[in-house]
């Protein structure tokens, strides 16, 4: 019982539901209380104990249904398989004997030959225990197959799966491999040898057994494949995804294919959530030793003015005020997309982000983000301001004109761009003005450091007037930079 629950929890963890050890123990005691008898009750119980957010509850639903139904599904598909198999044999050339149940149902509409064979099968089944027309199998798996006990087989299959570490399956191409390994583990080679020996022995009972074993082997293979498939869905589907997510964090953002946008968005959200959790506490700085006289007097009025409850001066640390200036010209647009996505996902810790986009002229897009969802806003920004050739000089000029006055000593300015100015006027003096006013100016350049000063890039000039210039072309870089940003402000 415990094993069922722990493997269910492993599957849950795979589906991105975080379950701690303490919660596992709690769940165990809860299950002890309600038991496994009532499926609905069990589901309700576990969904109270294990998933702790709405998203996790959804994931839980899916995993629970997948995990706890498979015993029933197993039975029904098996019965179905067996049924169709027997029908096929009944209508076919009669080369194979009918199965255990088919003998009864199919007998009516079978030809005499078929009926004879069915009867023969029945005989054989009786006799497979003792001496008779069909010899009893010798190999372990053969015996198991002829015993025809589904429970025994399933148990054996589960054991074999455990022995070959099925839960470590990662990608779907491994399904075939694991199917074969499980079959081998269950004793397929011995069975194979036996079947071959039997087929070439002259006696009828032996050949009959060989055919019967072959048929049952195929059915078993089918079952094992199903089993692997289900285990794959439970254990590997998510870990395969996790693998991809890991890769996406490292990959250059301009190389991300369109079909991966959704996934990368999820990754961005996840990373943002982590940062939010880390920095959502608004810290206070206590100026130790500085008495807050008014407050102390107020608080101690109740005690007849006797001052024994002292209050000290403290300052709540301001959340960062961020201005993001993004180059959205063709070469950098993709980076801008993800940076904006990242910044706006951090709304909870950075409520005051103002975004500007430019290729030649600069415009504020903050409002777009306020009114639309992140995705729409980004799409609109890229549509309206994207493309065209970059002119950093003009963009800085526009920035100075529009909102340099809003920049104060609490503002952090992040500029995202490759500084490729098409040999135009760089206007670095405006950047210097910004540098003087703002708390911090960060320049994120998607190009590798070695090419910063090659060709029409003006990075050399700009670098003088920023506090920090960083190479930034993957989510990992982005996460580190934004994390640093939050850390230095707090």
């Amino acid at each position: 019982m415990d094993r069922t629950l722990t493997s269910f929890i492993a599957a849950l963890r795979n589906a991105d539901v975080r379950v701690s050890t303490a919660e596992t123990l709690d769940a165990l005691s809860a299950v002890e209380l309600v038991g496994y008898g009532d499926r609905e009750l069990l589901k309700n119980t576990l969904s109270l104990m294990l998933p702790k957010t709405v998203d996790e509850k959804d994931a839980f639903e899916v995993t629970f249904d997948r995990f706890f139904t498979f015993e029933d599904v197993d039975g029904s598909t098996d019965a179905g398989d067996a049924g169709t198999g027997e029908d096929g044999q009944g209508d076919g050339d009669g080369g194979a004997e009918g199965g255990e149940g088919g003998a009864g149902t199919g007998a009516g509409n079978r030809k005499s030959k078929g009926r004879f064979r069915a009867a023969a099968t029945e005989d054989q089944e009786d006799e497979s225990l003792g001496p008779g027309e069909m010899v009893s199998p010798r190999s372990e798996l053969g015996i198991l197959l002829m015993m025809d006990s589904r429970i025994e087989l399933t148990v054996r299959m589960a054991d074999a799966a455990r022995a070959v570490n099925l839960e470590q399956i990662q990608v779907f191409t491994q399904k075939g491999l694991y199917t074969r390994r499980i079959m081998d583990e269950m004793g397929l080679p011995d069975l194979q040898r036996e079947i071959n020996e039997l087929r070439f022995s002259g006696a009828l009972p032996e050949r009959r057994l060989s055919q019967e074993l072959q048929k049952r082997r195929e059915r078993l293979r089918e079952q094992v494949r199903d089993y692997v498939e289900r285990q794959f869905l439970l254990h590997a589907d998510a870990s395969g995804r996790r693998l991809r997510e890991q890769l996406l964090r490292r990959v250059k953002l301009s190389n991300v294919e369109h079909r991966n946008f959704r996934l990368i968005q999820e990754v961005v959200l996840k990373m943002a959530k982590k940062l939010v959790a880390l920095y959502s506490r608004r810290k206070k700085v206590f100026r130790r030793g500085q008495l807050h006289v008014p407050r102390t007097l107020r608080r101690n009025m109740a005690y007849d003015g006797n001052i024994f409850d002292l209050h000290w001066k403290s300052v709540k640390i301001d959340r960062p005020k961020v201005f993001a200036i993004c180059d959205v010209s063709g070469s950098v647009a993709n980076y801008a997309r993800f940076m904006l996505m990242f910044l706006y996902s951090l709304e909870e810790v950075m409520p005051r982000v103002r975004a500007f986009a430019f290729s030649s002229d600069l415009a504020e897009v903050t409002e777009l983000f306020e009114r639309n969802g992140i995705e729409d806003a980004i799409a609109k920004t890229l549509r309206d301001y994207g493309g065209g050739s970059t002119d950093y000089g003009q963009a800085f000029e526009d920035f100075r004109h529009k909102c340099l006055d809003d920049v104060d000593n609490r503002t952090t300015i992040i500029i995202l761009g490759d500084a490729r100015n098409n040999y135009g006027e760089p206007r670095a003096e405006i950047l210097k003005e910004m540098y003087d006013r703002a708390k911090r100016v960060l320049w994120l350049n998607p190009e590798p450091r070695t090419t910063w000063n090659v060709g029409d890039a003006e990075m050399r000039r700009y670098v003088a007037y920023v506090h920090q210039a960083e190479e930034c072309n993957s989510l990992l870089h982005l996460e580190r930079i934004v994390g640093n940003l939050l850390r230095t402000v707090q």
């Binding site: 975080r18 701690s20 303490a22 919660e23 709690d26 005691s29 809860a30 209380l33 309600v34 609905e40 009750l41 309700n44 119980t45 969904s47 109270l48 104990m49 998933p51 702790k52 957010t53 709405v54 509850k57 939010v276 959790a277 959502s280 506490r281 109740a302 005690y303 007849d304 006797n306 024994f308 409850d309 909870e348």
Partner: protein
């Protein structure tokens, strides 16, 4: 000095009172045992108190009672989170102790505080008797050691003002503790709750650890999800999410809460509300709004919904002018849908 001593008779009264209470307690205990026997029993129990709940909810209360675990209830406002705790309290016949959370709530308001005023008063009063206490004591050291003999009188139970959390722990026969809107409090307060939630105890530096009495309180926490509750807190709780009910459940809820309303109108208004929840609104109507609306319609002697009436009463279910304006256009269509289906 007017120090009032308890009179002789008071203790007798107290004894007889506790006897009565003892009887009542036994009755309650039996009642609780019966109600919490199974998930089904709980569900019918809730229904008897006009709280219609899903299996999930009754399972949560069942587990909370048997595993002695707090329940963290999340969900949109107005789906009956607070009501669940209140109903549980009346159903189990336990007192309800409620702690409303807000920004800046601290331990002085949630757990305990010293009665500073009383302490001051007593020191003033005792000033005069100081002479007696220190009688014959020579030198500073001797006086201090003499004072030490009296222990920490001023920081004893007598001077302790219990706040909701401490009160709940000290309740003899258990109680229902409702910590409402825990998301409104600060992070610091959440950490403060951890001890009481996992071990049913609080630590008071001057006195020591106060443990819950025989029956630990049954704790409900509610949250509107205005911010993430910390993992540490979530880990200690059962997590119950109450979503908006489906049409069937909502009809039953209305039936339980406003039994006078005719079934046809009930069906119509629930259908209408359900449709409304699919629209893009700033604040979608919750169950409490549906109930209010049902009462309003009842008051207006309505037989069936019609667009004009809906328009006039829209402000009962929608709380933003913007929403009302948006829905106003759709009213005929929605009403039609609700009446016809």
């Amino acid at each position: 000095m007017p120090i009032v001593l308890p009179k002789q008779g008071a203790s007798v009264n107290l004894a007889s009172f506790s006897a009565i209470q003892g009887h009542r307690v036994a009755e309650t205990a039996v009642n609780i045992e019966r109600v919490t026997e199974s998930v089904e029993a709980l569900k019918t129990g809730f229904e008897a108190h006009r709280y219609i709940c899903s299996d999930q909810i009754s399972t949560a209360v069942y587990l909370a009672y048997h595993l002695r675990k707090p329940v963290l209830i999340e969900g949109p406002p107005g789906v009956g989170k607070t009501e669940l705790a209140k109903t549980a309290a009346t159903m189990l016949g336990l007192p309800l102790i409620r702690l409303q959370c807000y920004e800046g709530l601290d331990e002085a308001k949630a757990i305990y505080e010293w009665k500073y005023g009383k302490q001051l008063l007593y020191t003033q009063v005792l000033k005069e008797t100081l002479e007696e206490v220190l009688q014959g004591a020579r030198g500073f050291a001797e006086s201090v050691s003499r004072l030490h003999e009296f222990g920490d009188i001023f920081f004893s139970e007598e001077f302790l003002e219990p706040r909701p959390l401490l009160k709940a722990l000290r309740e003899e026969d258990g109680c229902v503790l409702l910590i409402d809107e825990v998301d409104k409090s600060d992070h610091e307060f959440e950490s403060l709750l951890l001890e009481i939630l996992s071990d049913f105890q609080v630590s008071i530096p001057e006195i020591g650890t106060v443990k819950a009495n025989r029956e630990p309180p049954m704790v409900f926490l509610t949250s509107n999800n205005t911010r993430e509750i910390s993992d540490a807190l979530k880990r200690r709780c059962l997590h119950l999410y109450i979503p908006f009910p489906d049409a069937d459940l909502e009809q039953r809820i209305i039936h339980a809460r406003v039994p006078e309303i005719p079934p046809e109108l009930r069906r119509q208004l629930v259908t209408f509300i359900q449709e409304l929840r699919d629209l893009d609104l700033k604040k979608v109507p919750a169950i409490s709004e549906t109930i209010d609306w049902a009462r309003t319609l009842l008051l207006l002697h309505t037989e069936t919904l019609d667009p004009d009436l809906v328009r006039d009463t829209l402000n009962v279910i929608l709380k933003f002018q913007e929403d009302i304006e948006n829905v106003d256009v759709e009213v005929p269509v929605l009403t039609n849908k609700a009446v016809k289906t």
